[in-house]
Amino acid sequence: MSEFELESHAPKGPLQDRWKQHKFNCRVVSPANRKKYTVIVVGTGLAGASAAASLGEMGYKVKTFCFQDSPRRAHSIAAQGGINAAKNYQNDGDSVWRLFYDTIKGGDFRARESNVFRLAELSTSIIDQAVAQGVPFAREYSGYLANRSFGGAQVSRTFYARGQTGQQLLLGAYQAMSRQVACGTIEHRSRCEMQDLIMDGDRAIGIITRDLVTGELESHLADCVVLCTGGYSNAFFLSTNAKGCNASAIWRAHKQGALFANPCFTQIHPTCIPQHGELQSKLTLMSESLRNDGRVWAPKNKADCDKRPEDIPEQDRDYFLERMYPSFGNLVPRDIASRAVKLICDEGRGVGFEIDGKKLGVYLDFADAIKTQGLDTVREKYGNLFHMYQRITAENPYQTPMRIYPAVHYTMGGLWVDYNLMTTVDGLFAGGEANFSDHGANRLGASALMQGLADGYFILPTTVSDYLARRKPVKAENYQSQVDAAMQASKTRISALMNAPEPSVTPDDFHRQLGQILWHACGMAREKESLLTAVEKIRMLRDEFWKKVKITGEAEQLNQTLERAGRVADFFELAELMCLDALEREESCGCHAREEHLTDDGEAKRNDMDYSYVAAWQYSGEVSKPTLYREYLHFDFVRPSIRNYQ
């Protein structure tokens, strides 16, 4: 691994002209030559499906892969609340500049100005594209598009399709991709998981995959590889992510030389259904949009915590978000809301189930909304969410307030990418949640869908073309030895998993233990000593994993236990890096709350003098000894201020 300077390739000049100018500077491949180039896209959620569809339409030969049984099932589908766009349809003073500013401030000034501005700029085209595809966004009686408000913004710019915005946008991208499959430009493989990159020196030229039905390992060569494989929240075991979400593709890429940026930036979403049992396999999010009409409260007195909420009189309720943050109230950004909820529960004023001796939950109450707006309006807005809540908890939120508690939800960190979304590995791009690029230390609600689609529909098609235009198409016959090496590495790894010397513990069991360590040390609050202990514990548990992991069945067949073990093995390594990154960042910013660096009121104390940078980690050949590179952030258009939502 070589020493290098991190070059973001962010253009200079007026912010509003940068993307336009950059697009013009990008080279293009002539239509007749495009079919000579193969692009691999791994992961077919919003970013992957939209990138694949767009690249296919342009005429490239695209190969797509997903581990699910259909691209339509990627976890983008679960995004509920909406997608931001600076359309200013509400005439409430919104603009590209305001969306840019809200996003960069929401991220606590830990993202690149150029990238965030481009995101805000592209937001409007995404809505146009989605509507043209038939995405049934909510509309007003006039027939024009409706908007709602979301956390961290004082304008109403969120487009939505009831509580299923992610589903509808994903189906739009999936359908666009399906059209290209029918046209023959995309060759898609479902139930197929990337095992490793095929490298030619420092350049990515393909991937090794495992067919999850037959267990067969296959090689696929390409002119470049695009990873849109999502985030790594599942390192915590319990998260709001789908069970299959994993970090394996980006982690294997990391071990082949791609730097991993800000791994400790993980978003804890304030409104999730609290954990209720030992066997629990995942946590369920309740959309942030609920905070538009729901009021968050906890009992003022500990003695009331065991009472039924309807028996606690108004004067004994503490609407703590409204009290602590009067100007944003219940709509403060996610990191702030989560920490406030934790604070209340740590004081012993939580409600609901007890986990590790503490009641972990506060109320999200719709009584006022139902009174003022009527039951039908509330049902129209949130019906599916209320239904979901009732199914899981057996409580009726129309009658009794919901209980909520924060849960791991999204990872701002990811593979380091430059302005072109290319990683530090030549020919390897990363889009969507898999990269680190736009959300800094905290993502605002309704921005994930925006970023995934900006990357996929608009950025990657331009920058991938620019990359390909500089190269001659790869000739498969020249790379047999590289393919063999990558294939052998994958085989060795699977064999090590299948043949642990003392097989006695299931992969899920290990995963739960790892999740516990991470949640306590690298969750909502972080502190030096507990992080150091966590690193030690993770190392020990990882050694034990490779000794004792138990997988039954064969590797050459459908084997879900083996799939899980492979993913857990990667989480074990990534988890350590998350803790090391959290240790290194001696400040609090966004989601990253170091207890040593909080004000007396529990607010984050950011340290711009020393930490205004992206921490990008290089694999050194030894997991426990990564090398840190710093990409310093420059703010020419906004002045980093203290985030104040009071």
Binding site: I77, P136, E140, S178, K243, G553, L558
Partner: protein
């Protein structure tokens, strides 16, 4: 509490399947799939092959999970996917019979996992609006009446799980096709492709799904409550297209 299970086991597409009896200890607050997880943990520790089943989001939206529980696709709770079924609703059941979706067009891959890629191919045959990236007009230049948009949304909530096929005596995918047609072809931006219903229905037949003979069982088990009125909508569009051609 202890649940008695009879689970379909099948080593591969061409292997003979059979029911295998198990008992599992799970809290009544756990979800159905968490109960299945508990069984699999136990099987692995006993050195046996765990039961293969599909799942992913576990919040009822991805459409992966697909168990037939005591004869009903997805289980007894209406308008609810398998992953959102909770054991508290099954504590009085003497035994639970757990089977895969059964249809010629959904061959079993292993145990409870079936191959539903036929649905992808149906969508590829016309289940999209052919707009290129970047060529869309400004979104509000195309107003859509609210009730039209709402109806399209209701049809668009289909999660492609295949319960409609699993319950249909004809193993027909008409509700799946109709939901997509009713979503796309009623919106102004989707009306250009008059042949969409015909193309998608042909693809459905080519995949080996049966035809609709109005049993309406599909509507009963659909976890997203897609209405059979979408089939009426589709048939009307089909009729209109044929007439104008």
């Amino acid at each position: 509490m202890i649940f008695k299970l009879n689970i379909w086991r099948q080593a591969g597409p061409n292997a003979q399947g059979f029911f295998e009896a198990h008992e599992v200890d799970a809290s009544e607050d756990s979800s159905f799939l968490e109960m299945m997880d508990a069984l699999n943990e136990q099987l692995i520790l006993d050195g046996q092959d765990p039961v293969a089943f599909d799942f992913d989001c576990r919040e009822g939206i991805c459409g992966s999970c697909n168990l037939v529980i005591n004869g009903t696709p997805h289980g007894k709770q209406k308008a609810t996917t398998t992953c959102q079924q909770y054991m508290r609703d099954y504590k009085d059941e003497e035994a639970l019979w757990i089977e895969p979706w059964r249809a010629t067009a959904f061959p079993v891959i292993k145990d409870l996992i079936v191959d539903r890629t036929a649905f992808d191919r149906i969508i590829q045959s016309g289940g999209y609006i052919p707009i290129r990236t970047g060529s869309a007009c400004e979104a509000n230049t195309l107003p859509v009446e609210k009730d039209v948009a709402d109806a399209a949304f209701d049809a668009a909530t289909c999660i492609g799980c295949g319960a409609c096929v699993a319950v249909c005596p004809n193993a027909s995918a008409t509700l799946f096709v109709a939901a997509k047609v009713a979503h796309l072809s009623t919106l102004p931006q989707g009306q250009l492709d008059k042949k969409r219903p015909a193309k998608m229905l042909k693809a459905m037949e080519d995949e080996g799904f049966g035809s609709c003979s109005n049993y309406r069982e599909c509507e009963r088990v659909c976890p997203k409550e897609i209405k059979v009125s979408t089939i009426t909508t589709m048939n009307r569009l089909l009729y209109k297209a044929n007439k104008s051609a």
